[in-house]
């Protein structure tokens, strides 16, 4: 039997290692369940290749 689904905008993170949970997904979750906390977008640096 065909099962029709209502898609959410929440990425399934159950099999994503905690250390790899994407920032965008954290923001999306915060937007859903704690909308008052959605932070100003952080800017990451495409850092100099020859240092870490």
């Amino acid at each position: 039997m065909t099962q029709f689904n209502v898609a959410s905008n929440v990425t399934d993170l159950r099999d994503v290692p905690l250390s790899l949970v994407p920032t965008a997904d954290v923001d999306r979750i915060l937007g859903r369940v704690l909308p008052e906390t959605v932070a100003v977008e952080s800017v990451s640096v495409a850092a100099f290749n020859s240092s870490i």
């Binding site: 099962q3 898609a7 159950r14 250390s19 495409a46 850092a47 020859s50």
Partner: protein, 762 residues
């Protein structure tokens, strides 16, 4: 070349132009550009001061909130401790008052000792070290001029850094595909650095890299990526993180990937501004700008055509790259790697085949679906029920939310210790981690942290509980919250004043290492007919229900809960069988509330999925009613967490027959859904217990039906919300037709009229 002005935010300050190693793959000395030969060996104090003031001038002019400076070489430690201290102090002195300064040094490590580290710690300078893997891999290139190995000295430096993690940035590894990729990866990850990056060796189309097969570099990296992912990505790898981030439309973490405009400039030991020094591999003089800190400000450098060329994003790439499906991650690769005599940089990277294969592989392996709720589940829940299969969908969504919120808390610094342990356990003992994260009040704690009210350090308690469950030895300091060192799902140690929360987990036993006589309050459980729930009376985050939670229950009260729960559950299973499967599948926890002055109190909390809070009522039937009522809130909250049933921007307030005040639309929806079950409870109950039950049924079916009409009339429901409310209506409609004594109907109508009148609603 037109585009918005891009100020520099990254500065590479060359503090020494020579090196004490003679690595044969070094881009500074072994490639086309030989300008190092005419540079001063070491930067002068005057040039350092000019550099600091030019950067400060740039920061002020463009209002930059954060800049990054890397002390680089050659080998920067050859500048000596005293000179480095002066340079660092100069930079901090010019910039700390203006912006957030991220200061780093990158070294080969052979001179690094605690005295250098003292200087770096004093000025908050993070240290990165170059290490190409295990001894065999490292010694293939990283040797002294006389051929001696550098490996032992570098490992000693890394061990020093491991003990001073506050200044440890990570390890950089230059790839040689002749090395065993997994041996390299394991050698690096076993050192447990904060971050690793793998660098493609600098090369151009004129001087291509050694290439035993067409995609040798991709194949080498893919073997590491697969191992890294399978092991839970325990140690961050900048290249892999950047591919994952850019695949989601986020920014890259390295200039070698992604489409971000270059915002980096190099200042050489003589004060000369240069472009990215990887350009040294292209041709002699390639990085040169002809500008200098003494005579030119940084805006002048930013207008240099070479700098502007690396700020064009997609528009700066060749046709082949622009048409590539992975261009948003690859970004054409490192600018220098595109060089070919004749066409200059208008080419794909010399590693383009590798990057295409690697990025495609990473995307394929990490493609992530979104949660979805089957329509059948929506329908079952809308009617007020939902079985174990339906609960699986809600549980799945909640697990995702908790993991996402935990990652959000991780950003708070005091959570670092717990995070390290938890991510390690997450990689190797996922079921134990899931069992702890599924505890309802983990999300409540995370929500408090993210709204500024919680203790991020409690992440250590969560990690410790997972370690105990996994049977993994660990030692970690627990956070005292409200007078207990709580271990979610396990219990709590009473924390006396000044108690030390250092927890030792060993051989599947755990104890407070320095307070071995601390009182342990194990988690209580109540069980009936194979259905077990936690009777939560120690978790400090259970105080979120709007009513006073009971303290640790005396044994006799715990016994009373067990007896009444057994009878209540028996009633639910026998008389309300459509509610039982959902409860059994997703109700994990009951929080005892303190006895109220009069009447019954109960509550559900949006962040505590799976838990209800109840003051032990006078009889099992009331407990059954309260369980059913509150679990409706739990179910609907989980649906709302996943999908939108109403317009979040709607600000209307509505009469709710169970409240003295007007309610927002979500409050009305929640209450109506809960009273669907309340109506059903009294509908069935009146058959067993005549009398007031008839009035209760008449009252609540009317209230619920009226509230459904209000919801429909709000014009703020989404199409899915309308469908959901229609399901509620389908349940209540047949109840409205059920015969009820006229006196009960009249009394219910009078009670309803009085409530509405008292509320002031029209």
């Amino acid at each position: 070349m037109n585009g918005p002005f891009v100020p520099f935010r990254q500065f590479v300050l060359k503090v020494h132009s020579r090196c004490d190693l003679a690595c044969d793959h070094c881009y500074v000395y072994e490639h086309a550009d030989q300008s190092w030969q005419v540079r001063p060996k070491v930067i002068s104090d005057e040039t350092a001061t000019w550099s600091a003031s030019r950067i400060a001038e740039h920061v002020k002019r463009h209002g930059l909130e954060r800049v990054h400076i890397v002390l680089h070489g050659g080998e920067p430690l050859l500048a000596g401790r005293d000179r480095l201290r002066r340079i660092i102090a100069e930079l901090r002195g010019h910039l700390d008052a203006l912006c957030d300064l991220d200061l780093r040094v990158h070294t080969n490590g052979v001179l690094l000792d605690d005295r250098y580290l003292d200087v770096f710690a004093e000025y908050d300078v993070k240290v990165g070290v170059s290490l190409d893997g295990d001894r065999v891999a490292n010694d293939r290139h990283r040797r002294y001029a006389d051929g001696r190995s550098s490996y032992d000295r570098v490992i000693r430096a890394v061990e020093l850094l491991s003990r001073r993690r506050e200044v440890y940035a990570g390890l950089l590894c230059t790839i040689d595909v002749a090395n065993d990729p997994l041996a390299v990866y394991r050698a690096l990850s076993d050192l447990n650095p904060p971050r690793i990056d793998f660098l493609l060796p600098h090369a151009t189309w004129d001087t291509p890299p050694p290439r035993p097969s067409e995609t040798a570099y991709a194949d080498w990296l893919i073997r590491i990526f697969d191992a890294w992912l399978d092991e839970g990505a325990r140690v961050p790898v900048r290249m892999f993180e950047s591919i994952l981030r850019t695949s989601r439309g986020e920014s890259s973490l390295t200039e070698s990937l992604g489409l971000e405009p270059a915002d980096l400039v190099v200042i050489e030991t003589d004060g000369a501004y240069e472009q990215a020094d990887s350009l040294k591999v292209a041709f002699d003089g390639a990085p040169s700008t002809g500008l200098n800190v003494v005579s030119d400000d940084l805006d002048t450098v930013a207008a240099h055509t070479g700098i502007l060329a690396r700020q064009q994003g997609l528009g700066g790439l060749c046709d082949t790259c622009r048409a590539c499906p992975v261009v948003d991650s690859c970004g054409g690769g490192l600018y220098a790697h595109r060089y070919r005599t004749g066409s200059a940089f208008a080419n794909p990277s010399v590693y383009s085949a590798d990057l295409l294969k690697l990025i495609t592989h990473v995307r394929h392996r990490t493609a992530m679906p979104a949660h979805a709720l089957p329509y059948e589940t929506i329908e079952a829940l809308a009617c007020g029920y939902g079985d174990d299969h339906d609960m699986e969908h809600l549980l799945a969504g909640q697990r995702t939310l908790r993991r996402g919120l935990l990652a959000g808390v991780h950003a708070q610094r005091s959570a670092a210790d717990g995070w390290d342990l938890l991510t390690r356990l997450d990689a190797e003992h996922r079921p134990a981690v899931d069992a702890v994260l599924d505890h309802p009040y983990v999300r409540e704690w995370a929500a408090r942290c993210l709204t500024g009210g919680g203790s991020p350090g409690y992440l250590a308690n969560i990690a410790a509980a997972a370690a105990v469950r996994a049977g993994v030895d660990a030692e970690i300091t627990l956070q005292d919250v409200d007078g207990v060192f709580h271990l979610p799902t396990l219990g709590a140690f009473e924390a006396t004043s000044g108690a030390d929360g250092r927890l030792l987990v060993k051989d599947e036993r755990f104890t407070l290492a320095r307070t071995p006589d601390a009182v342990w309050l194990p988690v209580r459980k109540i069980e009936t007919g194979g259905f077990t729930v936690i009777l939560e009376d120690t978790d400090p985050h259970r105080h979120c229900h709007g009513h006073l939670a009971a303290g640790r229950l005396p044994e006799e009260e715990a016994g009373a809960w067990q007896r009444m729960f057994t009878e209540a559950w028996s009633l639910i299973e026998s008389h309300y069988p459509r509610y039982a499967p959902g409860l059994r599948a997703a109700l994990s926890t009951v929080v005892p509330l303190a006895p109220p002055e009069g009447g019954d109190v109960s509550s559900a909390a949006r962040h505590a999925f799976g838990s209800v809070a109840i003051a032990l009522p006078k009889d099992p039937a009331t407990l059954a009613l309260l369980l059913m009522h509150e679990f409706q809130h739990v179910k609907l909250g989980a649906v709302l967490d996943m999908v939108d049933l109403y317009d979040q921007g709607h600000s209307g307030l509505y009469y709710a027959p169970w409240r003295p005040d007007l309610r927002p639309l979500e409050g009305l929806l929640q209450g109506t859904y809960a009273h669907l079950a309340v109506s059903d409870f009294w509908r069935v109950r009146r058959d067993s217990v005549p009398g007031d039950t008839e009035v209760q049924f008449a009252l609540w079916r009317k209230h619920t039906a009226d509230a459904i009409d209000s919801l429909n009339g709000s014009q703020a429901l989404t199409p899915l919300g309308m469908r959901f409310v229609a399901g509620m209506r389908r349940s209540v409609e047949p109840w409205l037709a059920e015969p009820v004594a006229d006196e009960a109907i009249a009394l219910a109508a009078e009670l309803a009229r009085r409530h509405r009148a008292a509320s002031g609603a029209r």
